[in-house]
Amino acid sequence: MSPALPDGDTVPGGGPLDGWTADYDRQRGFSVYVHVPFCKVRCGYCDFNTYTATELGGGASQAAYAQTAALEIDLAARQLDQAAVPSRAVQSVFFGGGTPTMLPATDLAVILSRVQQAWSLEAGAEVTTEANPDSVDQRYLETLATAGFTRISFGMQSAVPHVLTTLERTHDPARIPQVVEWAKQAGLAVSLDLIYGTPGESLDDWRRSVDVALSTRVDHISAYALVVEDGTKLATQVRRGMVEMPNADDQADKYELADQAFSEAGLHWYEISNWAREIDGKPAACQHNLAYWRGDDWWGIGPGAHSYLAAGYFEDEAAHAVGIDNEVTSTTTQAHGVRWWNVKHPRSYAAKLESAASPAAGREFLTQEQATLERVMLGIRLSEGMTISDLPDPNPAVIAGFVARGLIDGRAALTGTLKLTLRGRLLADALITELMGL
């Protein structure tokens, strides 16, 4: 049900880094993502790679999951070494799902300590987990904090019962302030996830959710426009006319409403869907997500997880040639990044690792154009903006056009930075298309 894996090249027997040689120094940050593919029930809108116990035919893989993930962590450390990727301490760890908190807190602690053993953590490294409000209690949160977690992100989605019902969320909205309070007491930084534009959600409903979220005085909020993902139950309901298709204009109104309310409460946007309060002169942004958007290295542990390493060289197998003496020669090709992804299902994932094989299912080497497109597509989402002279072949007329249409900040443009305005944030994809001549 979760989104299909991308099309890519097949992964050789030696794993995703077989034939890869990294080409950069240890300056570049390194992060680890841990995917936990379990949920109690599947929400109608969700297409993440996650499974209920019924779908898996029992909780066995869930119980053994920490051990399985640990196997991949060890494998990852070995493979990075072999590929001459400079060894670095981990700057951030993010446990996402699914619902990581479906596992006992001690299991999460086990996985985290394995990461620590493999690479060590930078001092002050951010360690986040996602959580469903009804999957944690005070003790659970304290255990996490003790184990080294620094941050938690709760899937609040809405404060309005009928909206939560449409989204098929099971938690009691009254629980939100409670879990936030417990997390804070445990010393965790807290973030809330919200969804806007759910069919049937009025502007007042949305204002209410925004207000409730702000009333918890969290330092970080993510707000996402509801997307009707292919293959979800929601998509079926929309197709059959049982639920109305979310309206883009309505979502734009709600985005503007939220942006204003958040800013007034001291949370400022630092990425299109993320707002944070400044603490000690610096926004309480999610360091792990910033790593994605800035193009750092990251390894994704778990079924369906993606990984990415910047520039390097790979031995071009297609170019392998058999010489006169049956000598195998190969050429080395420069790539502007390598990305791979694991098999999707928890069972095949476990099976691979138990037989000491790599769980990677496919990989891609990025060309320069692809790497550039990714850099722009991610970098443009940030409030820090992008340096115009870093853009490939920046066209002054196009940039001026953006300013004229109010899509980017004119002052920033004059000093060489491309930074989205509110209007520009809502039209970012159109802007990327135009900027990149797509």
């Binding site: 991308p6 994605y292 990305r339 990714e374």
Partner: protein, 655 residues
């Protein structure tokens, strides 16, 4: 020569078992000795019978022709494919006959005393649809008799009347025949009366046949021999032959079908086309039976083909007179006129780089279709293309389909329009074949083509038909009851109104019972205006239309609303206006898009998102930019798709 005699004999032996009990004659096919009397180029005109079959579409003309080919032994049973004479694929598929063909068939009648009388019958298959009226009339001119074939379950339809009218105009002997009498739903008595009244015979004289079972077909051939007059011509006069069809063949070049009126044509003679004075070597001359068979020539009254090596049907025009170069005739036969296109449409390749391929394809089609006219044209919105003139909607539809099917060209075609004569205040006249050429400035009058339409329908629909025709600016000319419950209504209607979804409406308002036929009948002055469509103030030439003043508003509202739905929202507001000159008559607004961004873009989303962006590049190629507005190709196609009118054409040829 002579292969077909062999085939003929072997079928003659089979004959009684083929159609047992059909006709109590020993052999209807001439014996070898009798056959000598009807050798091509050596047949006395008295032994010739030239006839055609006229029928409404689907009344069974092709099937009956097939039975005749079998009965006369021209085609062996096992070589028989259904509708042998319809050669082109599209014809076969659509079951319509576009190009007429002529087949020579032997036949014999036997006296009571056993004396055998051989005859050579030339059957000329005429195209059935109104678009091809000119060709029909040329085919008819090559005959002395016509079989009027009527479906015994349907009765007379509008096209039957139109063709019957032409046949009578050519003074042909009419043989009324009811077909499909094998059908349980057949009502031969009822329709025999209807036809008898029309042709002026007794109902009992109407023959009853089944092209399917073969019943009555031999009797029909006997009747043809009996009543169709033999051709008369002067064998000693300078040769004159009329071209009634001209077909391009990939291997042989143009094959020209002629009917000799006076004198004779002989192999290896130089011939001359009287309209152009062009002369050609006669490379081959022969008869079709049903494959081409070279002969020693063609004599008075005979029908056959010529091959001269020309490559373009325009050098061998339907209606023209062929004569010999030496001692040729000075007076051409009456009846030649250039076919005039009635309906125009712009054809544009969806992929601009297909333009040369489109030109080549049209050039090729033109070889076989003298009625096809085209000129290069440029549209701001659609790029390079052609303004193409057609005989009618069916012609348009067939050409479009052939371009698609035989040449693999994906095309946008603009809504079909007719030709207008615009007279300016200073009396200069402008011929407008493309709405965007409609002049501004002071106009004295605008003339549009009108047609005389005949509609046949059950009388219960009179009210509905009148209402429709009135709304289409029709003038009722007259109305006659064919029987107690069927009526014929005659109207003058602007062709432009017919071109636009008229047939569809007629069908839906009469639950499919009405049939329509029309023929050009001159011009009329009308209160016509050009409505332009503007996107963000920029005129989109492809959407301009010439409409009656009273309908301009409705057109404007319809088109602006349609475009509003078809054009995706842009980053800015896009007004869509309909205007007559500078006066805006309708307006819609496409509101600016406000949100175009994916909310989430984390680690696992990056590849997917990048690939989506990369894909957009391909989508862009399918956009045309009007001013600043990106309009997807599909929007043009949908807005211009003459869905209605093309459906009309399809339906029209079905009923």
């Amino acid at each position: 020569m002579g292969q077909w005699w062999i085939a003929a004999r072997s079928v003659a032996v089979l004959y009684p078992t083929l159609f047992p009990g059909v006709r109590s004659l020993v052999s209807p096919i001439p014996s070898p000795s009798a056959g000598k009397l009807i050798k091509p180029a050596a047949t006395a005109p008295e032994l010739l019978r030239n006839f055609c079959i006229i029928a409404h579409i689907d009344h069974g003309k092709s099937t009956l022709a097939d039975r005749m080919l079998q009965l006369t032994g021209v085609v062996e049973q096992r070589a028989m494919r259904a509708q042998y004479l319809d050669r082109m694929d599209i014809e076969r598929e659509r079951g319509i006959t576009i190009k007429s063909q002529a087949v020579r068939m032997p036949w014999a009648t036997v006296d009571e005393d056993g004396t055998e009388h051989p005859f050579a019958l030339n059957m000329i298959d005429t195209p059935g649809h109104v678009d091809f009226t000119y060709e029909v009339s040329r085919s008819l001119a090559a005959c002395e008799g016509a079989v009027l074939l009527v479906d015994a379950a349907q009765g007379i339809e509008a096209q039957t009347l139109a063709n019957l009218y032409l046949a009578m105009d050519n003074e042909l002997e009419i043989i009324p025949v009811l077909n499909k009498i094998d059908l349980p739903a057949a009502q031969p008595e009822k329709y025999a009366e209807e036809i008898a009244g029309l042709v002026g015979v007794e109902p009992s004289e109407v023959l009853k046949v089944s092209g399917k079972t073969g019943q009555g077909v031999a009797e029909l051939l006997d009747r043809i021999v009996e009543v169709v007059p033999a051709p008369v011509g002067n064998a000693d006069a300078p040769s004159r032959a009329m071209i009634f069809d001209s077909v391009y063949d990939t291997f042989r070049g143009v094959v020209t079908y002629v009917r000799v009126v006076d004198g004779s044509l002989n192999p290896r003679e130089r011939i001359s086309m009287m309209s152009t004075k062009a002369t050609h070597e006669l490379l081959e001359i022969g008869v079709i039976s049903p494959e081409p068979i070279p002969t020693e020539g063609l004599g008075v009254g005979e029908v056959g083909y010529l091959i001269t090596g020309v490559k373009d049907v325009r050098q061998s025009k339907v209606g023209d007179t062929v004569t010999t170069m030496h001692h040729g005739a000075t007076e051409p036969l009456a009846g030649y006129s250039d076919p005039k296109p009635m309906v125009f449409s712009g054809l544009y390749p969806i992929d601009g780089s297909d333009y040369p391929a489109l030109r080549d394809a049209l050039d090729k089609l033109k070889l076989n279709d003298a009625a096809l006219n085209y000129e290069p044209e440029t549209s701001v919105a659609l790029g390079f293309g052609f303004r193409v003139g057609f005989l009618g909607l069916l012609h348009l539809e067939i050409i479009r389909e052939r371009l698609d099917r035989e040449f693999g060209l994906a095309l946008i075609s603009t809504a079909p329009n007719v030709i207008y004569d615009v007279v300016m205040e200073d009396n200069t006249e402008i011929n407008v074949t493309n709405p965007s050429e409609f002049p501004g400035g002071k106009i004295r009058e605008v003339r549009e083509p009108v047609v005389r339409a005949t509609i046949l329908a059950p009388s219960e629909f009179i009210g509905a038909i009148m209402e429709l025709c009135q709304s289409r600016r029709g003038d009722l000319l007259g109305m006659d009851y064919l029987s107690a419950d069927r009526v014929e209504m005659r109207y003058t209607l602007p062709l432009a109104e017919i071109v636009f979804d008229f047939f569809d409406q007629l069908k839906s308002k009469t639950r499919g019972y009405a049939s329509l036929d029309y023929e050009p009948s001159g011009e009329q002055v009308a209160d016509l205006v050009k409505v332009d469509i503007l996107l963000q103030g920029e005129q989109v030439d492809a959407f301009s239309a010439i409409v009656h003043k009273e309908k301009a508003y409705a057109y404007g509202v319809m088109m602006t609303a349609k475009l509003k739905d078809l054009i995706p929202r842009q980053q800015f507001e896009v007004p869509i206006q309909a205007a007559i000159g500078s006066r805006v008559i309708a307006r819609e607004t496409i509101r600016a898009i406000r949100k175009d961004v994916l909310a989430k873009c984390y680690g696992g989303d990056i590849s997917r998102k990048r690939k989506l962006l990369e894909k957009q590049k391909e989508g862009k190629k399918r956009m045309k930019t009007i001013g600043r507005v990106d309009v997807p190709q599909e929007a043009f196609i949908a807005a211009l798709s003459s869905e209605q009118s093309s459906k009309d054409a399809k339906d029209a040829k079905k009923k």
